[in-house]
Structures are given as structure tokens and as C-alpha cells.
Amino acid sequence: MLDVTDLACRRGDRQLFRSLSFQVPAQTLLHVRGRNGSGKTTLLRALCGLLRPDAGRIRWKGKSIRELAEDYNRDLLYFGHLNGIKADLTGLENLRIARTLDQDPVGDDAILDALARIGLEGFEDLPTRMLSQGQKKRVALTRLILSKAPLWILDEPFTALDVDAVDLLQQLIAEQVADGGSVVLTTHQEVPLTQGAIQRLTLDEADDETPVSGDDPARA
């Protein structure tokens, strides 16, 4: 369970948000929304610990993520604007390494199955450099299939994907939530969820004075 109190971030000389407090319990999806440039990516990177916020605390299972450091990272799967795959390695190799680094190696069969599920059958042996925009994204998303991390933080995971892949990804997110995990994601699309709770958080820079809107939980 992720617990954020009084978070504030500024980039350049703009205050993006402040006094932001919310919680993401298990079995919950937090959908962060907002216009382009409202600070979604900034918030997500702060939640991962990649960016140090100006104020506020972020706690995971009751402990500050700064203190948890590597222990927090083990519980976390972050998916950013960049895919995080090596263009010179094949999809299979990329995923094999990703699993080893998470200290949870799985067999090649499991990886191949996952790649097939995401629609990359026949492309497992190509360096990812040779894949199209959307196929690269799919390779990166295969990490979601293999992951056991309880917390997923996904920054616009739907871009560049075709309709099939979008469906599959929505399904994966729903499974993660159903299995007791938490997901924080940004997207400009809607995310249907059949089980568990969707919270929405809207970052709105329009009025500078009032604190940014809080959570409005909504059962799906």
C-alpha cells in the first residue's frame, strides 16, 4: 500500500502540484489524469524514487521509500516513456536479463510464452532494433506478464499500441488489480476495470492557489 502525504513538486520555475495526498491500497488502480504538461510524469517518477520531491512523504507499507531504497525497488515495476530495452538484444535476451536483475529468473519457455501472448511470435529472435515502434513497446510490456511486483507504475503505456495490444494490456492491468496488486498509471484513454477499485486523480494546474484536487474513488 502506497501512501503519499503532502507531496509537492516543481520543475523549472513552475509549481506543478503541492499538498498532494492520496493512498493506493492493494487491489486498486490509480488513474492519474491531467492535461499535457500538468505533471503526471513528474509525479510518477517521484513515486518511483527517481526524482526527489520538494516536500512531502511517500511511504510504502508504512515505511519511507527513501529508507527502503532497494527493498522498495524490488516491489516495484516502473514503465516510463522510454521502453528500457536494449536495441541490440533480442526480445528473449532482454527479458531474460530483466528477470535476472529482479533476482527472479524464469525459464526461457515462460518468456517465450509471454512473448507469444503479447503477439510477438516469430519476432523473438530479432534484435529489437528491427522491430516497429509498437512492437518495441510490446517487448517492454512483456515484463508486466512476467512480473510478480505488487506495485506497477505505468506512464502512458497505451501509446503506439494497436487495438489488440491495448485490449491485452487492459486485461493485464485488470489481472494485476484482481490479484491484489496496485497500479498507478497515466493515460489519456479510459481504463475499464472489472474488479477492484479505480481511483482517479486529476492534476490541474489551472488554479495555482488551491491545492490540487484529491482523490475521488469510484467503483467500476
Binding site: 527517481l50 532497494e70 525497488n73 538484444l89 535476472t100 536483475l101
Partner: protein, 223 residues
Amino acid sequence: MLSVFYSVLARDILLALRRRTDVLTTLFFFIIVISLFPLGVGSEREQLQALGPGVVWVAALLASMLALERLFAADYDDGTLEQLLLTGQPLALLVLAKVLAHWLLTGLPLVLIAPLVAMQYHLEATAVWVMMAALAVGTPVLSLIGAIGAALTLGLRGGGILLSLLILPLYVPVLVYGAGAVTVSAIEIADTEPYFYLLGAFLLGALVLAPLAAAAALRISLE
């Protein structure tokens, strides 16, 4: 822990072997830079002999530095570095693995090719052996120190040349003692030991401190 170290090491070596030419390219860069000097300076035997150790070391510095530029940059550009930072492993360990892979692929070949280029400068056999030994101890120090610079200049435009600005001054001690050992060996034998003690000390110090510093630099650069 060790499995992760090993995995990063294997990954980087695999990546390099995917592009086998990369490894060779560093080597040829080294050879070419060394071959350029006689063309600019003239080819008198004694002058070349005096010049030899210095040129070889400067070329090694440049080759190591140029190759270092890509040490983290490739991972940074495609987002895998972000993922490495979030792996739940001590970052310094991962850095050490990356540096080791880098040295095996770019430093070690330089050591092995050194006799060939020494020939071009008419160096004596003893001088060649001393040069190989000095390079073997010195080039890992270059890689380690360079890693800090590479981490600091990550994602900056013109990173390559900024890196050299930061790093080359730090390379000076290695250069002085490395080239010094070779020069001295040509004059009177057996006096090269102090040089090697010092180079060894640099290596130990760098092994302990550089990965920590580079890890800290990486965190800053990614913020």
C-alpha cells in the same frame, strides 16, 4: 548478489559481441593514433624511442576515454539505466560489473597489442614488457575513474568532449607513472618497482571508491 553482478557483466559482453567491430574499433583507434605521430613528428629513430612510452600512454588514455563515453550513455538513451537503478540491487555493484566488462573489452586488448605498436617506436624488449605490465595495472584505473566522469556527463549534449575535460586531468597521475615506468626501464633496470607500487595503489583506491562515486553520480544524472 553475485548472480546479478555476473548477469550485468554477461549482458554487456554479449552486447559488445553483438557488435564485434566495436571492440576492434577501439583497438584500431589506438593503433591509428600511435601511427599518426611519426607522420607529424618525423621518423628519426632516437626521437621515436624517446617519444614511444608517452605516445602509447596518451593513446591509451584517449582510447579508453572515447570508449567510456558510451559506458552508460547507451543504457541511458534507451531507458535501461532507469531500470537498472530500480532493480533492488546495490547500484555500485552493477557499476563495477559494467566497468569490468568495459575494461575486458577495451582495456585488455590494448595491453595485448602493445608490443606491436612498441615496434613502431623501436622500443627494446624489456621496455615492452614493462609497458605491458604498466598498461595492465593502469588501464583499469582509467576505466574506473572514467566511469565517474561518464556518469556525470550523462545525457548532456557534447558529453564526449565534456567528459574528456573532466577526466583527462584525473588521468594525469596514471599517465605520469605509467609512462615513467617505461622510460625508466629503458635506462637502468630494476628501478621500476616504485612505479608499480604506486600504480597498484591507484588501482586499489579506484576499485573501492570509483564505483560508489559513479553510482552517486548516476543517481544525480537521472533525477
